[in-house]
């Protein structure tokens, strides 16, 4: 067993309490520890990425318990890729928060950030459905704290909505897991994959209910129609670096659908059939439309970006909903792009809004310092999110459009995605010209002299402050330049995802080094104590006496 597999969960989990308790009075120490932790996490994630690149599936059995009973963490190409993405994004966001001073506007920013990274990495790694629920709760509770970081009326109101929405989602998650357990008698994802395929079509009603309930839960996280309402308010009111980190949060939902609805409820399972696709595709289309219209209708910059995120989530889910290896390749490429583009846009918006007197309202105002530089950054990020050439969004959208061509109503999908992109472009063009072009002329025409010299020198953007946004934009450029190798790796990842036999074999069959449950003499208390920790209990199947 390779113990590095659990490191992305353990490292932030250890670091966060140390930051919260030992370093709470010293922001410099907190920053150093948090950034060092993020660098180490990135290094570990890169190592795990190399480890999984050959297509092998690595299983980490917690406490060496055999598979359907103990919790497993599974490292395959998909989870390694997403952990690497999370850690790089985390590093960029932390650099920005430290440079812009966002982390000093409230308490425990860095500790919450580490808990957030822990939850996200754990959710990508876990091979157990109930453990997925627990890690979802960890990342959510950290995100509640981050979403209302530094307080304020609007932020608390939208934070409250966000919490209520997700708590209702968590209840639904538990109902779905209960239904799944009652039907199959297991919660291990690999074991579920086997059990669901054994269910005959006539008895599939309950497992279909569980599959749909889980899809609704993940749709809440991914912000898809009809449960997308929380996203614009939350993202628009959250602190900008936090909103940038939240770029990966919608992807956790997308990942969960991609994992559960291919490995467990795949189209090849008789009990499920094309159920997932039939519901996911229309919902994704409507999400794209809402995103486009929202961008056009927004009067402020932050909601405008939030609606653009909604549109890109819809495009991503559209690719996921085709449930073919090629579409998954497109989805993964677009996922990388969308995460980095969203983060870049929020970070640039933060740089800009911190220097504008009129806040994020889209109207003419005196020019900001370094207007040209900010305009260039904003232009690049807007090109990224709208999916225009030359950045990777264009390639991503092209792949997605090509991948959904197999569906019957291709023309409708193409029309919605293309019109949605056009609306996004128009919205951003309007916002950009209001923010940058009109502002310059207003400063010229204004009766008062431009207050350039009154501004403190700290207001100019130094290299430390610009670096995170530029890094995020550079990653988009790199995605474009290395599109060939990247998409080949995505192809291999998608193939591995759609052939769950290796996953199932790695988790259930190759169990050397685990404790043999039959030869265990010190049974009862330990089994009960382990059971508290979730599915470690001896009895893996529901007893039939109660019928």
């Amino acid at each position: 067993m390779n113990h590095w597999i659990i490191a992305p969960v353990v490292l932030p989990a250890l670091l966060a309490p140390i930051i919260a308790f030992v370093m709470r009075h010293d922001i410099t120490l907190q920053r150093a520890a948090s950034l060092a932790g993020a660098v180490m996490l990135t290094a570990i994630a890169a190592g795990l990425f190399m480890l999984s690149a050959d297509g092998s599936v690595h299983v980490y059995r917690l406490g060496s318990w055999p598979a359907p009973f103990g919790i497993v963490l599974v490292l395959d190409r998909l989870s390694a890729l997403l952990i690497l993405l999370t850690s790089v994004l985390g590093l960029i966001v932390l650099m920005h928060s430290a440079a812009s001073g966002w982390d000093t506007r409230g308490r425990h920013f860095h500790a919450l950030m580490q808990f957030q990274l822990m939850g996200i990495c754990g959710a990508f790694l876990t091979g157990d459905a109930f453990n997925l629920f627990v890690l979802f709760e960890i990342l959510l509770i950290a995100s509640y704290g981050l979403a209302i970081h530094s307080g304020g009326k609007a932020r608390l109101k939208s934070g409250l909505q966000y919490v209520i929405m997700n708590l209702a989602g968590s209840s639904l998650f538990l109902i779905a897991l209960g239904t799944l357990y009652a039907t199959t008698g297991t919660l291990n994802i690999a074991d579920l994959s086997v059990k669901v395929r054994e269910i005959p079509v006539e008895e599939a009603a309950l497992v279909r209910v569980a599959a749909m309930l889980l899809m609704i839960v993940f749709a809440v996280k991914a912000a898809m129609f009809p449960v997308q309402f929380w996203l614009p308010g939350t993202y628009a009111n959250a602190p900008a670096p936090v909103a940038a980190l939240f770029a990966i949060m919608t992807k956790v939902g997308a990942y969960a659908i991609l994992r559960m609805h291919t490995v467990v409820f795949g189209p090849d399972a008789d009990a499920i059939g094309s159920l997932s696709q039939d519901w996911l595709m229309p919902a994704a289309l409507i999400t794209v439309a809402i995103g486009g219209l929202g961008v056009l209708g927004s009067r402020r910059l932050m909601p405008l970006i939030a609606f653009a995120v909604l549109g890109s989530t819809g495009t991503l889910m559209l690719a996921v909903s085709a449930f073919t290896p090629y579409a998954a390749t497109a989805a993964l490429y677009y996922l990388l792009h969308s995460t980095m583009a969203t983060a870049a846009l929020f970070l640039v918006a933060d740089l800009l809004l911190a220097r504008r007197e009129s806040g994020d309202l889209l109207r003419a105002a005196p020019a900001t310092v370094q207007n040209g530089f900010l305009a260039a950054l904003f232009f690049a990020a807007a090109i990224g999110i709208a999916g225009m050439p030359p950045l990777s969004g264009f390639l991503g959208k092209l792949l997605v459009l090509d991948a959904v061509r197999v569906a019957d109503y291709t023309w409708l999908i193409w029309a919605v995605v293309l019109v949605g992109s056009l609306l996004t472009i128009v919205g951003f063009a309007r916002a950009g010209s209001l923010l940058f072009w009109k502002s310059t002329s207003a400063a010229f025409a204004g009766p008062e002299p431009a207050p350039e010299e009154e501004r403190p020198p700290a207001n100019t953007i130094g290299p430390m402050l610009a670096a995170p946004s530029v890094l995020a934009l550079a990653s988009l450029a790199a995605l474009t330049i290395f599109a060939g190798p990247v998409s080949r790796h995505m192809e291999a990842t998608a193939e591995q995802l759609f052939d769950p036999s290796a996953y199932v074999t790695a988790v259930l069959a190759d169990q050397e080094g685990t404790k043999d449950p039959s030869s265990k003499s010190h049974g009862d208390e330990e089994a009960a104590a382990k059971g508290y920790d979730e599915s470690g209990a001896e009895a893996g199947t529901p007893s039939e006496e109660g019928h």
């Binding site: 709760e137 934070g159 919490v163 708590l167 538990l174 009652a182 089994a527 529901p542 109660g546």
Partner: protein
Amino acid sequence: MELVVATTIGGLTAAGVYLLLRLRAFPVILGLTLLTYAVNVFLFATGRLAVGVPPVLDDAATAYSDPLPQALVLTAIVISFGMTAVLVLIALGSALESGDDRVDVTEDANGEGDA
């Protein structure tokens, strides 16, 4: 017994959803709590209903109840308890900050309206 448990879960869920759709924070929190109760009873029942049988190994026992849902319920209770506490505090903060405990966001607060 099945009927009693099923009715209880249904009643709790219905009441929870009704309260969840109210406009004020306090009923919404109560609704979420009721929903959590319903979920816990439901999770408990997924291991099949069995009366008077032990969940752990016992030489004298002839039948067992499923211990796993009981462990799941324990985890779910702990998590939902903590989440409710967080929710109460955020709702309190929001009510103190804005002067009312409405959970719907007005045009202004959402950042959509004109300033």
